[in-house]
Subunit: 121 residues, 2 copies
DNA sequence: ATATTTTATGAAAAGTTGCTCATATAATCA
DNA sequence: TGATTATATGAGCAACTTTTCATAAAATAT
């Protein structure tokens, strides 16, 4: 008892499958980065922001008005999205205009939307 | 002061854009469902499970061994994935075999992977 | 310079998630 | 029947997120 492997306390039923899964597995860093990307999209307010920015750039104040939340809250969410490179901004005087960082995000959201719409009754 | 609209305490700078965004906006329920789908994928262990199941079905014990976490933890995660219809199971005696519920999930993950790989330096 | 405006940020409160541990259930076996 | 095996589930806790509140910073105007 206490060997490194047996986190699973019942006999391993399909060693072959586990071996295969281990070989097909992604590197740890890759899984983490994917999870981060999904996390960025895993919040209704952030999704609303990303969805709105498809149509063109908007400033913090616009987004706050659209989502009906405080500017501070939007700003925090934008920081997260900026850090993860989903959005990018451009300053014009006092105003910061945010836009999507690239088209991939739009694609990802479209796929998710299609999937969630096709969900069973 | 106190009108319904001014959650945003600075003047609304681009009413046109807000109006446009409101028209293009998704229904609330739709945003929530999309967020749920993203949430389901927004965890490294759940992603590992989904990624592994691409190759074929596995039982709880297999997955626990693969991820090196407790069976209880895997079972909780599987329940979440089941509830959100990302996985489905089949009983054979005492053993429950889990598999992806449909091919959309695989597609979604592939898009995310591609995107996260193409991220800038 | 000072005041004003828009946005950013840090800290703490409020809310959510993911794990563990103990217990329950469902199928099988003796 | 009772015992065993594989999995499910509920409660509780630790870790993390999201919002709020107060304050700071950057650009502009006076």
């Amino acid at each position: 008892m206490g060997r490194r492997e047996d986190i699973c306390d019942c006999r391993i039923i399909h060693e072959e499958r586990i071996k295969a899964a281990r070989q097909g597995a992604l590197a740890n860093g890759e899984i983490e980065r994917m999870a981060e990307l999904f996390k960025a999209c895993a919040d209704a307010n952030r999704l609303r922001i990303l969805w709105a920015l498809r149509q063109g750039e908007m400033c913090v104040c616009d987004l706050a008005a659209l989502l009906e939340v405080s500017e501070s809250a939007v700003s925090h969410q934008l920081r997260l999205l900026r850090t993860l490179r989903l959005v990018r901004n451009r300053r014009e005087g006092v105003v910061l205009y945010y836009r999507l960082d690239d088209e991939h995000i739009e694609h990802l959201i479209q796929v998710a939307l299609t999937h969630s719409r096709e969900e069973r009754p």
